[in-house]
Structures are given as C-alpha cells and as structure tokens.
C-alpha cells in the first residue's frame, strides 16, 4: 500500500509536465518527425487528434481518480438516509447535489428508485436525483473542461443542477404518486445496515484507482472515436458551416437539437468532442449545450427501464419537463452569448 502511494506521488509531477508540454510535443511530432505540410486539412486534423486525445485522457485519469475518492464517502444508502422525509425544494436541492457525488449507474436506477420511494423519499426529490445523476458526471465535466474550458464546464454543471432541482420540484408539486406502478408501494425493501466503519484512507485511494480502471476502460474508445470525428470536422468542414443550421439566427435549432438528442444514446465521451468541433464551425453555445444535455441526461434506454416502475404518462411528463428545461437553457445561452 505504501508503494502505491509512493508511485502516485511520483506520477503527479510527470502528469503535470506532460499536460503542460503537450502542445510543443505535438507540434514537434507533427512538423519535425512526420514532416507534414503545414496548414493542410490533413495536417490540422492530425495535429488536433494527437493533441486532444492524450490531453483528455490525462485529465480523465486524474479527475476520475479524485472523484473515485470523493465517491467513497457517499453511498446510495447514506444518500437515502439524508433525503428521507425531506421537504420539497430543500430536498430537491440536496438530491440534485447528492446525485452528482453518489456512485450511480443507470442499470441500478430501478433498485435505487424502489429503495428511495419505499423509505419515504418524496417522489419529486427522487426525480431530482435521477435527473442530476446521469446528466452531471465526471466524464462529461472532464471533456467539457478539456475541450471547452472551465467556464462552459461550470455553466453545464450549474444549469444541469437547476434543471434537476426545478423539474423534480414541479413533479413533486403535481402530486403524481398515483402514476407510479402500484406494486412499488407494496415492496418491503430491506434495509442494509451499513456500518459506518472508519475506512482507512489507503482504501479510498484503492477505490480511486478502481474507478480509473473501470471508467477509463469503458470510455477510452468512445473518446478516441469522438475526437477522431471531431478532428475530421476540425480540419475539413469550412468555417461558419454550422452557423445556418445550429447558429443563433436559426431560432428553431434549439428545440430541434433536443428532439434529435433525446432518442440518441451516446455517452458524454463520444458526443462532446463532436459537439465541440461543431461549435468551432459556427454552431451557437446554447444550441450545443441543449444538444449535449439531451443526449447525456435523457436517454431512451434509461427511460425504457423506468417503465417498469412508472406509468407511461409519468414518463412522458418527466421527459417533457426536463426537455422543456433544457430548451429554456439553450435559449437563454443563445441570448446571452
């Protein structure tokens, strides 16, 4: 265990140096080793690819490691305990924020839903959690930070939180409990007595490393393909090509982006690099943001899974409210920037 920490301690400076010298290394590689013709479409595409892939991977490794450690402090059981019996609004705010840090996989959405509802977490509060958890995740934030900069990452996170809070609040206010399948309320969920044992910090480091292994193994291929497509757009698509389609002047672009985005199923890793390239070619930030949120936050497979516990009407209401929230966010950003 000591060895592990020591290796990490040595790796950090290596990480910092690599991250900071990536541009000159890339330029040297492309211009001096490959000796490619400057400013040609192909050269610029390749330069983009060689620079962005390692950059995003470096960021991903570090952030996933840190988030893995943070997540080891939160468990669904603990989150449920915090949220039990909380009032609307305060509960929605808490649930959305906990949705970001609690470990969550959409394949666990149903057991989590049952566990929450059964132990008295209000329906609207549960929805705030279920909206925030998939939409705001470390992979999306890394890619946004790496490719768009910290301002956009922060914008995405804060507007995502607001959408989760307000949508959950509205669903709570509408009193839709009758649209939950009856059997849900008959489930007698067991309660795991999670012993609040003191976990040594070294175990948390292991948890961080496990998270890196699991997540990087899962998303690296999406990142490479996504950045590959993005690099192609970057080099070959003419400037301002997207302005007419996804630009500010095209008022209809925001709802269209959401309508296309909802049934699309991709993870953040695949979609963000492509969207970044589109932004560069004249698409507007609000439209791009709306598209990303609808692809990442609202996914068809997840809503289909929810059909097991929710009546169809509630699913439509849920998707409708979130989609409207995303569209509003899109318009606001197109208006401001």
């Amino acid at each position: 265990m000591k060895n592990k920490s020591l290796i990490l301690f040595i790796l950090l400076p290596v990480w910092i140096v690599l991250y900071n010298y990536l541009q000159p290394i890339t330029d040297y590689f492309v211009d001096s080793i490959l000796e490619m013709e400057k400013r040609s479409h192909l050269t610029e595409s390749i330069r983009f690819f060689i620079f962005e892939v390692p950059k995003v991977m470096l960021l991903l490794t570090l952030i996933v490691f840190v988030v893995g450690i943070i997540r080891s402090y939160f468990s669904p059981e603990r989150t449920r305990k915090i949220l039990g019996g909380k009032k609307l609004f305060v509960g929605n705010v808490l649930a959305s924020m906990l949705g970001v840090v609690t470990p969550f996989c959409s394949c666990s959405a149903i057991p989590l839903f049952l566990g929450f509802v059964e132990s008295g977490v209000p329906l609207g509060v549960t929805f705030s959690f279920l909206i925030a958890a998939p939409m705001i995740n470390e992979v999306a934030l890394v890619l946004l930070f790496g490719l768009f900069g910290w301002k956009t990452a922060l914008l995405y996170m804060s507007t995502g939180l607001i959408i989760a809070i307000i949508s959950g609040y509205i669903i709570g206010r509408l009193k839709l409990e009758r649209l939950v399948e009856e059997w849900v309320y008959q489930v007698k969920a067991g309660h795991l007595d999670v012993v609040e044992e003191k976990i040594p910090f070294s175990h948390r480091i292991t948890a961080g490393l496990d998270a890196v292994k699991e997540i990087v193994a899962k998303v690296w291929i999406h990142i490479v393909i996504g950045i590959g497509v993005g690099a192609g757009i970057h080099g070959y698509v003419p400037e301002n090509f997207m302005a007419g389609l996804m630009g500010k002047s095209a008022w209809w672009s925001v709802p269209v982006a959401v309508i296309i985005g909802v049934p699309m199923y991709s993870n953040a890793a695949g979609i963000i690099p492509i969207v970044q390239a589109l932004l560069e070619k004249g698409a507007s930030l609000g439209t791009v943001l709306a598209f990303m949120m609808s692809v990442i936050g609202l996914s068809l497979p997840e809503t289909i899974i929810l059909k097991k516990v929710l009546k169809l009407r509630l699913i439509f209401i849920f998707v409708g409210i979130v989609a409207i929230g995303i569209i509003i966010v899109g318009y606001i950003f197109n208006f401001i920037f």
């Binding site: 969550f104 059964e118 489930v187």
Partner: protein
C-alpha cells in the same frame, strides 16, 4: 452447500460477478447453488440499491461493485467454515 445469489439485471458487472462466482466455486470445488436474481422486488427486498449485489447464505456481502477474486474466495471460504461449525 452454499446458497449464492447474484442480484442484478443486465449490467456488465452483474454478468461478470456471476462468472467470477462460478469460476471460484469450480476452482475450489465448493458445493454451491448459484442463482441469478433479476426480480426487482426480490432485489429491493435485500435492501440492495446498486447492482450487482451478492448474497451468500442469505447474507448481503456486497453491493454496487465487483469484488476481487481473492476477496470473493475469502468470503466463500468463510461461509463454508461457518456452515461446518453449525
């Protein structure tokens, strides 16, 4: 005879956990009945909120992640020892 239940629907880790269980059981020649539980009511009944979950002889030993092979072997051996002392 150990009663092992792997709780979870569809996720990759759930499939991997079942595989790992079968592997460890076969390698150590443990007598066990491995069952995959996909019914949400039953999963919720165990108090599991993140899958995969693992239940050995009615006791929840893990939820939400894949154990390492050595940890799993350890759990199964412990459960066996407990059974023998009964």
């Amino acid at each position: 005879m150990l009663e092992i239940k792997v709780l979870g629907v569809g996720c990759t880790n759930c499939v991997n956990l079942e595989k790992l269980c079968r592997e460890v059981v076969a390698e150590n020649a443990i007598e066990a009945n491995i069952q995959k539980v996909t019914d949400f009511k039953e999963i919720a009944g165990f108090g599991i909120m993140s899958t995969p979950g693992l239940v050995i002889n009615g006791k929840v030993v893990l939820s939400g992640k894949l154990p390492t092979k050595s940890t799993l072997t350890h759990w199964l051996m412990d459960a066996l020892a407990e059974e023998e002392t009964k």
